[in-house]
Amino acid sequence: MMLGILGGRVYDPRNGRDGQVADIWVKDGRVVAADEVDRDRAELVDAAGLVVMPGGVEVHSHLVGAKVNAGRKLRPEDHRGHERARVGDLRSGAGGTVPSTYLSGYLYSEMGYTTIMEAATAPLVARHTHEELEDMPNLDKGVFITMGNNHFIMKAISEGRPDMARDYVAWLLKASRGYAIKIVNPGGVENWKWGTNVRELDDAVIGYEGVTPRRILETLARVNDELGLPHVPHIHGINLGRSTSARTTVETMRTLKGVPAHYCHLQFLSYGEGPQHIHSCEAPSVAEVVNADPSMTVDVGQIVFGQATTMTSDGPLQHMLHQTAGGRWMNDDVESESGGGIVPIVYKRTNPVNATMWRTGLELFLLVEDPWRVFLTTDHPNAGCFTSYPQVIKLLMDRGYRRERFGGIHRRARRGALLPELEREYSLYEIAVITRAGPARALGLDKKGHLGVGADADIAVYSEQEDKEAMFARPRYVFKDGVLVARDGAVVAEVPGRTFYVDAPYDPAIEGEIRAYFENAYTVAYENYAVVTGEVAHTEPVACG
Amino acid sequence: MSERLTLISGRTRKQAIGMHKGKDSPEYHAATELVEMNPEDMARLGVADGGRLTLRTEVGEIAMTVQAGTLPAGLVFVPMGTAVNGLVGAETLGTGMPSFKGLTVEVEVVEAGPAGAEGPRS
């Protein structure tokens, strides 16, 4: 099937296009050169005066799997009023901050997104994640596998066997059909199973001689590099939400200086000690370190005022949130691997802490100089719902709007703030970088996030509008693999997506060691653990090295 | 003579085994048409192990074989299944869950059971 998107203003940063008028030609799901397409047999879309971008690439979002589904179950009240009726062959759904799977697919599609990364799955329950992804259409996917509190890896560190860690990680990514190494509060989640946590990079992890957060980070960073994985270690650091977070975040960045890594939802990890126990915003000092080290990428995790559902693998963090915010608390300790929890939350502009958090995220966006290294997220649903991305885009592109919104936050968060002095406005090109080209590059997805020949035909076409929130909330057309899936902000078709996973070589001798380890580490058989070929319908291995 | 007692129902191994053989099998019937009772309650009612009781609620009545069990006075236990469901009513207290436990039943002796039982005490 062939398609031509004609005469639009193309924002394709990877290929240096900054609004030039150009035609985009598609054949069999890929962007092709013009001469490969028979114009008479192609479907032609008149994009004159419209903005054409690659489909959005979500670098970090909690959408599917055990923890997310527990969040859905926990919050029936958050679904009511956010229902979607079935239309034709499309499915119904519900959910405000934790939408059901089909609805999640449709909502991303309607925003012009075509690829998502599921931010955290414990490998023991990866099968669940993949089942849900099968029911989330119109998106290509990848799954980040949590490893920062994995017993086998900690054992390898303790025993001084880096090769053991490397081979295990390769095996694990294949067994879980995962895309990347995810590290969440390394060592802290294991300590939470003893009722405690970690506070410093060199704190001991209970039960594992010689294992510390620093050693876990260094080991997994080295493994990532040796395996040549498409993405870099994706790090949710220690002390998230605490006043010590900025300090230990900077220490972590210095520990891994020059070693490529991605720091997720950095806003939550950029606080200092403020007066009267209200955290201070340390975005400037954190941004300075980010700016100085070109090997790192970050995503912001911008707060959006309103309902949110915090859900992370960071068990002790979630308990702390329950203690401070009160209300419902879900915890789940996952044998030998991970943990996590859920706490519903509301962010208010009148709450000085929430307002400071909001300010911190925006300052990070505006102070990190290179848009190729700072990506747009709300750590959905932790800081806000992904459907708020258009609002965040408007805050970045329109300083008048930003100033107005700043005026409405608690005065203690405004006092001495840098934000009103930051005049920078993101351009459309830069928005295309932080929502498409940058994430795709950081993820090693070379057919995503751009519109050059060979790219997957994942394309979003927008009407340029003064109000950037309205513009990005309602694309005119969204194409997935060259198929029109949304028009005027409404889904019109469902296509299955692919799940990318990493297939890295490993020494087969590790399997015997893992099998023996299973006897004592797990309550499921080794033979029943790995996701096998055929279990997940649309997977695509990605080579490494 | 009949008495009002409190009934609870639940899973037993024999009920599960019987279920696998089929709900029309003799094993299933034997496993599910069984009521366990406190021995003092049994003595007061004048029934022995192996005796037969009728259990009754406004929904229906079922005949069951009685067996002494470790239960507090006033409480009887019947395995889950088709038999006890002849007694359980429609009330779910708005939750969808019927009253499978804590059900008030009228219990009447049909057959006192093997030798040794003397019939109802006056």
Partner: protein, 423 residues
Amino acid sequence: MSTVVEHVACPFCGCVCDDLTVEVEGARIVKVKRACSSGQGVFMEYDPSPRTARVRGEEADWDAAVAEAAAILREADSPLIYGLSSAASEAQRKAVELADRIGAVIDSTSSVCHGPTGLAMQAVGEPTCTLGEIRDRADLLVFWGCNPDQSHLRHFARYSLNAKGALTPNGRADRTMYVVDVRETGTAKKADHFLQVAPGHDFEVLTALRLLVQGGEPEGDPIGGVPRAELEELVERLKSCRYGVFFMGMGLTMTAARQHNVAELFTLVAELNEFAKCSVIPMRGHGNVTGADQVLTWTSGYPFAVSYARGYPQFMPGEFTAVDVLVRGAADAAVILASDPGAHFPRPAAAHLEAIPTIVFDHGPSVSAAHATVLFPTAAYGVDAAGTVYRMDNVPIPLSKVIETGRPTDEEILGRLIEAVRT
């Protein structure tokens, strides 16, 4: 010709033991190792002989039966889809799709089992863990209103009381066990401490425990039938344990206070976490009732008691729970998948099932199957069909296909039914 299939997962109860060995001769299962008596029943009592579909008791080919079922569903104004709990998630997803497309009410056996547990979780949250954490860390176990000695036969051996783990190398000797129940069950006989609670007084005892944990002074002695000193001792142990785990069951969900009992327990466990690591495990009954919760939640947002009648999912226990729907006579057709409400529902509800056309998916001679208008004797997941199930602690485990019978699966027939109702 005999083959041996190893690491077979048992689909019967929420334990989903996956260490079974099944010996097969041709298309017959001849031996099962390591299964409990219930698991033995699942495999050894399975009848692999060829079956046909049935319409109104008469043999029919599968396509004709699908057409008849589709006609019934197209005709119905208020169809009910019920059960799901012994079907693999692949089939459960189809059942939800069917409900979505025809505007049905869909409910699983949760509503007569741990539905109140789900309601409690929605009200207060749930601190929980996977079963391996219990085996490896738990030094204090409290079984409340459940009787694994009769319901989850290998639970003690594989996961809890007797299981040996990293921090519990001596198994039973490394643990203290409490049982709280209204009668001294087989489980209670294994306990170090049995607290006999007066029937209907669990809530009172739970509240008293919460007060004691917070350093308060509940009135009375005994409390809810339990001597106060025993409660005080339990609280001391809970506040000083390494990893305490509560297991809860129908003793809390089925008695008068229903979900309030469970919410009180979950709150107690959450509050204990100020002092010691504590978790709670609902003892899910059916092999894949947890999967039914998961599937229905990820597709609709809600775990059970869902209605699609308005074109989008609505959740209301008491309105859309199957027993209530049937008792009100509010369903005019029913699809019964992998469960036997004809046997397990109270008579007032089961009676209505006999008055409406029913489409039953069951390989065995269940009561519901006996009354079915259309019967699909489909394959049994875990025996002659592979699929995914979710263990009581939400860990997803693959089921094996150990024999070949050529029977279609629930997933396949539901898929055909979905196509047929659209045309």
